[in-house]
């Protein structure tokens, strides 16, 4: 019964992740033609990390949109993308990371590969998690707006030097099918491929490696996680402290205490595995007691 519940929840989440990925990348003609989608929906920011140079992408990556406007000549504060992310953040929090993000799905699949997993000591893990906030602040928001050329245009620092989603979803594909782009490949491309390999190996060894330490979108949503409409709840009186929830948490959280911490991606694994079924989740305007004493 208990094992069935865990399996059922896992299958349900995988199905939602696949549907979200296909829905956001529904331009299959792009893969066949080797061209990206140019329709009007590309002006809409999707709530997940999904490169707009991916040949099948139907919307705009919000992190790319933030950097585009911040690095543009007209507006240095990207109201539209920030507002979109705030709305998604306050409604869903990091449920988006757990259920909707294609790059999260990619990492979950990598995590299923049976290799020896690494447990990062708390002393290293905790400060490393702040890295993603630095990336969000400096590479996504500040540098594109402040470090500009003579025309007042800034570079999309995160996309250019870090983003492995862009390399995987767009870079490898376009370089493979476009001979002109292949001629332009240089050190930067090799650097980004190297980073992608690091992320792939990292995600195989440490679950949700990129989400934990690097993702600026996860960093943004984490600011809303504690008070978003979607929350996790635990019945403190019935919790037996068996620690089953902690063992399955992909973000390596101390679940009863950190149930709605900024790091929780709301994957629901803890809820499924709890033998007492004391963990629940819900959308609500009102607060409930959600901390295990």
């Amino acid at each position: 019964m208990h094992r069935n519940r865990v399996k059922k929840q896992g299958k349900f989440r995988l199905l939602v992740q696949i549907i979200a990925t296909v829905f956001l990348n529904g331009y299959f003609m792009g893969i066949m033609k080797g061209k990206i989608y140019t329709g009007k929906s590309k002006e809409i920011c999707v709530p997940v990390l999904n490169c707009y140079s991916c040949p099948s992408a139907l919307g705009a990556c919000p992190i790319g949109a933030l950097q585009t406007v911040a690095g543009g000549q007209k507006h240095k504060i990207p109201f539209y993308a920030l507002g979109t992310l705030m709305v998604f953040g306050v409604l869903l929090g990091r449920l988006i990371c757990g259920f909707l993000c294609p790059f999260g799905l990619f990492q979950d699949l990598l995590d299923k590969i049976p290799v020896k997993k690494i447990s990062i000591p708390k002393k290293i893990d905790k400060p490393l998690r702040y890295l993603k906030y630095g990336i969000l602040l400096f590479l996504v928001l500040l540098f594109p707006a402040v470090i500009t050329d003579q025309y007042g245009t800034g570079e999309p620092w995160f996309c250019e030097y870090i983003c492995p989603a862009g390399t995987m979803e767009g870079g490898l594909f376009h370089v493979a099918v476009n001979e002109q782009l292949r001629k332009l490949v240089g050190t930067l491309f090799y650097w980004k491929v190297f980073l992608l390999v690091v992320v792939i190996i990292g995600a195989m060894k440490i679950s949700r490696f990129f989400c934990r330490y690097v993702c600026p979108l996860g960093a943004f949503y984490s600011l809303f996680n504690r008070f978003s409409f979607h929350q996790m709840y635990i019945n403190a009186m019935q919790c037996t402290h068996c620690h089953a929830c902690e063992k399955v948490c992909p973000m390596a959280l101390n679940v009863p205490q950190e149930l709605n911490s900024s790091e929780c991606i709301r994957c629901g694994k803890c809820r499924a595995v709890c033998p007492e079924q004391v963990i629940t989740s819900n959308f609500s305007l009102h607060e409930k007691n959600n901390i295990c004493e």
């Binding site: 109201f79 979109t84 999309p156 870079g171 782009l181």
Partner: protein, 49 residues
């Protein structure tokens, strides 16, 4: 009770602020900027430079 009211207030304020920012961004033409970037292969994103 006071804490709950504060939480509801915070959620609604952030939601409204987010919606207001979205509308403001759309009104000042940010959609065009995003669209112009998104309909071309972003050379920086794919690692060409």
């Amino acid at each position: 009770m006071k804490k709950e009211t504060e939480l509801i207030f915070l959620r609604l304020i952030v939601l409204l602020a987010g919606m207001a920012l979205m509308i403001l961004g759309i009104m000042r033409g940010e959609l065009v900027e995003v669209l112009n970037k998104a309909v071309r292969i972003c050379l920086e994103c794919i690692g060409i430079g």
